[in-house]
């Protein structure tokens, strides 16, 4: 016969076990780390904030949000807009000059207001530590905590009148109401209550996975592709001061990002009317007329070119650097051919340089299913 002490002991043990079980039912949130492989020759330092590490669940959610037109906070077909409205994968995550709505690649927001600058590609941004946008107004270390990284660019894209012209409260409420999304937020961030901060985080995670590193030139660096004589000539021109001298700003074999992500006055105008240039961010008068040197990966798809989209084609860009560079007080010293008007390429050299630039065309990246529009959204 069980005595009363044994009985009390059993009851207490039962309580204790139950308590343990309740605790076990709330496991800590442990999403799966996303492994971002560093391609050959690429930097190993990544711009990933400590409070937003890449996870499989976060990247997957970010992909849905990147492509979901309801990111504008609206559901009417005429009012849908997402990141992918302007950042189209097949066009190097840019609008492209053949965009059906944004004629010539010049975009405007849902309000009809045109953007200040043309769209920059969303390519290899995980290696950008110097600032986002043509003038780098969003940068790590910015005293303004709301203008530091890709996460902040997401918020700006949603609320800016020349983009989605939306409202963050409305956006998060809308996604909270869409079947399937709260569960995905729970998996990614440990809470099914959707916050706009987590919307920013998820999209930023997805954008950081957009890596282009498999162009013919990458394969050339890995010893898997032989450049043609014309491409090789173009490469030499790209990499030499006596040639086209592109490499100081746009990288090359030693900097396969094909940009320094830094800001230069490249001699487009003799009279500078600084509107949203680098000077507007730093206040340094020597940076009047300076803008970001964009990456050249998939550059044939990057038109219209320059911050204001003044050149429609790559040929026009090569012509500019060859014959039409003009001096100004703040022209960058790297533009040392300016008093000759440019690097003075012959027609044959221009063709070779273009042939090399086309070696940066990464069809693997442009067709990567992991970066593409999802077949259906969580509520479908």
């Amino acid at each position: 016969m069980m005595n009363k002490f044994t009985l009390i002991g059993l009851i207490l043990t039962g309580f204790w076990l139950t308590a343990c079980k309740t605790k076990d039912e709330l496991p800590p949130h442990r999403p799966t780390p996303y492994e971002l492989k560093t391609p050959f020759g690429f930097p190993t330092k990544l711009n990933i904030p400590s409070d937003n590490p890449l996870t499989e669940e976060g990247v997957s959610l970010g992909r849905f949000l990147f492509y979901d037109g309801r990111l504008s906070g609206r559901t009417h077909p005429d009012s849908l807009m997402s990141c992918s409205t302007c950042h189209i994968q097949k066009n190097n995550f840019e609008p492209g000059v053949d965009h059906p709505v944004f004629t010539g690649g010049f975009v405007h927001g849902l309000s009809g207001q045109a953007t200040t600058h043309v769209v920059l590609p969303l390519v290899n941004l995980v290696w950008n530590h110097s600032g986002y946008g043509w003038n780098g107004f969003i940068y790590p270390g910015n005293p303004r905590p709301d203008l530091q990284n890709i996460e902040d660019f997401v918020r700006i894209a949603v609320i800016a009148p020349d983009e989605m012209n939306g409202d963050t409260l409305r956006v998060k409420r809308l996604f909270q109401s869409l079947k399937g999304y709260p569960e995905l937020f729970g998996k990614a961030f440990g809470s099914e209550t959707i916050t706009f901060k987590n919307i920013e985080r998820a999209i930023a995670q997805f954008v950081r996975t957009l890596v282009s590193a498999d162009a013919p030139f990458d394969r050339y660096l890995r010893g898997q592709y032989q450049l043609s004589p014309s491409e090789l000539n173009g490469y030499v021109l790209f990499m030499t001061e006596e040639g086209a001298d592109c490499f100081h700003c746009h990288g090359g074999g030693g900097n396969p990002l094909f940009t320094t992500h830094l800001f230069y006055n490249n001699g487009k105008d003799s009279l500078l009317s600084p509107q949203h240039d680098r000077f507007s961010v730093t206040g340094d008068p020597m940076q009047r007329g300076a803008y970001k040197a964009p990456g050249l990966r998939n550059v044939s798809l990057s038109g219209p070119y320059m911050h204001d989209g003044r050149f429609a084609t790559l040929d026009e860009v090569i012509d500019f650097y060859s014959h039409h560079v003009v001096s100004s007080e703040t022209i960058d010293p790297l533009m040392h051919h300016v008093l000759q008007g440019g690097v003075q390429l012959t027609p044959g050299q221009k063709a070779d340089l273009k042939a090399f630039l086309l070696c940066l065309h990464d069809t693997v990246f442009l067709n990567n299913p992991a970066h593409s529009r999802p077949e259906k959204f969580p509520d479908e």
Binding site: F42, T44, G252, G254, T260, M286, P333, L334, H337
Partner: protein
């Protein structure tokens, strides 16, 4: 009793010898890099300087490598400041690159010189060594010899016709061409700098030293460097780079800021 006395004396002899064998506590040294023109701190972006050839000029930025920093004793022996090649990148725009601290214990004692390699020597200067900026942005094209720029000194000068022309005073591996376009041989332009000094490093003390780059010396120390003659870019002009490097050997000075106390 005799044995006890003998042991006692042995013990007395051993005590001082133990003390003698105790390793001396190491010293340390910190170098601060300063760029100057005619003795004054470099001021960038203003056309306030005139070189020995009479070219008015301005500097926008200087980015360069030094390596194999070592203190030298009177017998010629070297005390490296780092266990590895000690490659250090300096950038006038990045203040955190202006300081170098010894990364290994330095033997205390009297040193009579500071020695370093300007740029990277042939063994160290291999393409792909640096994948991260800012060092990676210093890469020197394979077609021109590969590796990295020893230095990018960028600026502008006023030509005799009054026009302002940019210059890129860039140094690295030189080329010898058999024609205008084909390099048949490469030339290692890095050089060693030896700066006499009188440094006494004491155990557990840090000595602070200033390493000065006298910018004007690049244009005058041995050869009169005239921008109007050499033009705005010299990466493919070995004659210009050779003169520049021969000048550069005299472009550095050392100043003791505070001796270890």
């Amino acid at each position: 009793m005799n044995k006890t006395i003998l042991c006692f004396f042995c013990f007395l002899f051993l005590l001082p010898s133990c003390r003698k064998n105790q390793p001396e506590k190491p010293a340390s040294i910190q170098l601060t890099i300063r760029h100057s023109v005619e003795g004054n701190l470099l001021v960038v972006d203003t056309m306030r300087y005139v070189n020995a050839a009479g070219n008015p000029f301005l500097i926008t930025e200087i980015q360069w490598f030094l390596s194999h920093l070592a203190l030298q004793k009177s017998d010629g022996s070297l005390e490296p400041l780092a266990d590895d090649e000690g490659i250090h990148y300096v950038d006038t725009d990045l203040s955190d690159t202006w300081t170098i601290r010894s990364s290994r214990p330095i033997n205390p004692g009297v040193y009579t010189g500071l020695k370093f390699v300007f740029g990277l020597n042939q063994t160290d200067n291999t393409s792909g060594r640096f994948v991260n900026p800012p060092e990676s942005f210093m890469f020197w094209p394979e077609q021109l010899g590969g590796g990295y720029h020893y230095m990018k000194l960028n600026g502008k000068w006023r030509r005799p016709d009054g026009l302002i022309a940019p210059f890129n005073f860039h140094l690295g591996i030189g080329q010898v061409y058999d024609s205008i376009t084909t390099a048949v041989r490469f030339v290692q332009n890095y050089f060693e700098v030896e700066l006499p000094c009188n440094l006494q490093l004491k155990p557990e003390k840090q000595t602070s030293v200033e390493l000065e780059m006298k910018v004007e010396q690049w244009f005058s120390a041995q050869h009169l460097y005239d921008f109007n003659f050499w033009g705005g870019h010299i990466m493919q002009n070995q004659a210009a780079m050779q003169q520049a490097c021969e000048n550069g050997k005299y472009a550095f000075a050392i100043h003791i800021l505070n001796a270890s106390e």
